[in-house]
Amino acid sequence: MLEKRLEQAAGCLPPQLRTVLEHLPAQEQARCEELRLRAGQLPAVTIGGRERLLGDRKLAQSELEETLRRATAYSVHTFADSLRQGFVTVQGGHRIGVCGQTAVQDGKLLSYRHISSLNIRVARQIPGAAGAALLGQIWEGGQIHSALFLAPPGRGKTTLLRDLARQMSDSGIRTALADERAELAALYEGVPQFDIGTHTDVIDGCPKAEAAMILVKTMSPQLLVLDEITSERDVRAAECASHCGTAVLASAHAWDMDDFRLRPLYRRLLDTQIFTKIFCIGSDRKIIPIV
């Protein structure tokens, strides 16, 4: 018997691989952050940031291929775009990172010829991840400030944004999620798999910039949430939403403010002064206000 979220994340594993996970104690199952599968190696789980090997049977490359086929519901076409970005998101918002030998055309990744490793990140909702103090800084005296959260991968940016969206939405703020990677709401057959609040609208799977423009034009949100600003278009979308009077909550990959300033893409974001609040998520997941 597997813990619920882990079971969902491991749903794409062939049955014989799933049994290995069942030997993990229930407490560890509940804390499991990632499942790491590498061809020719033992499967591993990440708990508390550290990898631990499981079982005594090394993984065959074909098992990785089958895992990815199952994750994509045997429908490569449905996931072609996200696979070109190196990941697929399965039911429940669990993201699977993909590595291997690629086929490249015109300098762009076309497909994977052979899979060499997979990283299944177990998505978990942590109600209350955004504390009252943080909420008070963003929603001050009836005014919602646009806020940006900086952190390297794995520090809980998505979890924090999701919880902020949930709390603000439940307080009656019309919230919109541009959920490109299907991780914030994790829609399944149109129904969010995470609690994202009662007044939240979601566009799932569409590039953030396009989704943001549609949401601003059609749903007139008071708050727009963009997870991981990674391109010039995302910056422009945030800018545009902000000009339309919509507050923006977003996240970006950076260790701290110095690292953030060094990145050319983000310099423009600073110049535009969209974000009146900038926070950094520390290694202990503590949220430190910077601006």
Binding site: P15, Q16, E66, A73, Y74, S75, V76, H77, A80, S111
Partner: protein, 172 residues
């Protein structure tokens, strides 16, 4: 009176055999038409919604046409099973197990099974090309089946009626 009843029964049963043979030809034509329309549905779902194959199969399993529903219900049920069998295998198995009952010929089943090498494995465009090729091959099968219905269907019916009359004459 008994003779008349015997004559009616003999002619009636031979005519029935003829009509049933003709119905088989007609049903083959109908099923091929259904399969062509299934391929259209798959193609549309792939190009407009990038729908996953299990979802397309689920949709087709609920189709009102018996042949379509029979084959795709079997496929849907086998996809739902959490085993180590591939979609390729499950696709082929559904057509091989249910195709004959649904009214398809061995050649039709082979054409539809050949699709399993492409379905779900490549991007939507590549899959559509393979579906288009299968449609060309099935259309050819449909032409042959329609010709058979016109020629053999009528011949079977006429021959059976004639055989019935002949048997009655011999018996009399």
């Amino acid at each position: 009176m008994l003779k008349i009843m015997g004559i009616v029964l003999i002619i009636g049963s031979f005519t029935g055999i003829g009509i049933s043979q003709r119905r088989q030809f007609r049903s083959h034509v109908t099923v091929l038409g259904d399969m062509l329309s299934v391929l259209d549905t798959i193609s549309n779902e792939l190009s407009f919604h990038l729908t996953s194959i299990p979802d397309i199969v689920k949709q087709l399993a609920g189709d009102s046409r018996p042949a379509v529903s029979q084959i795709f219900s079997a496929m849907r049920d086998s996809i739902a099973k959490d085993d180590n069998l591939s979609l390729t295998f499950k696709w082929m198995k559904a057509f091989k197990d249910c195709g004959r009952d649904a009214g398809l010929s061995e050649d039709d089943i082979t054409i539809l099974c050949d699709l399993s090498d492409f379905i779900g494995k490549y991007d939507a465009q590549a899959q559509q090309k393979s579906i288009d090729y299968a449609k060309v091959r099935l259309s050819r099968q449909l032409e042959i089946a329609s010709d058979e219905l016109k020629s053999k269907g009528t011949v079977y019916r006429t021959c059976c009626v004639a055989a019935g009359i002949l048997l009655v004459l011999i018996l009399i």
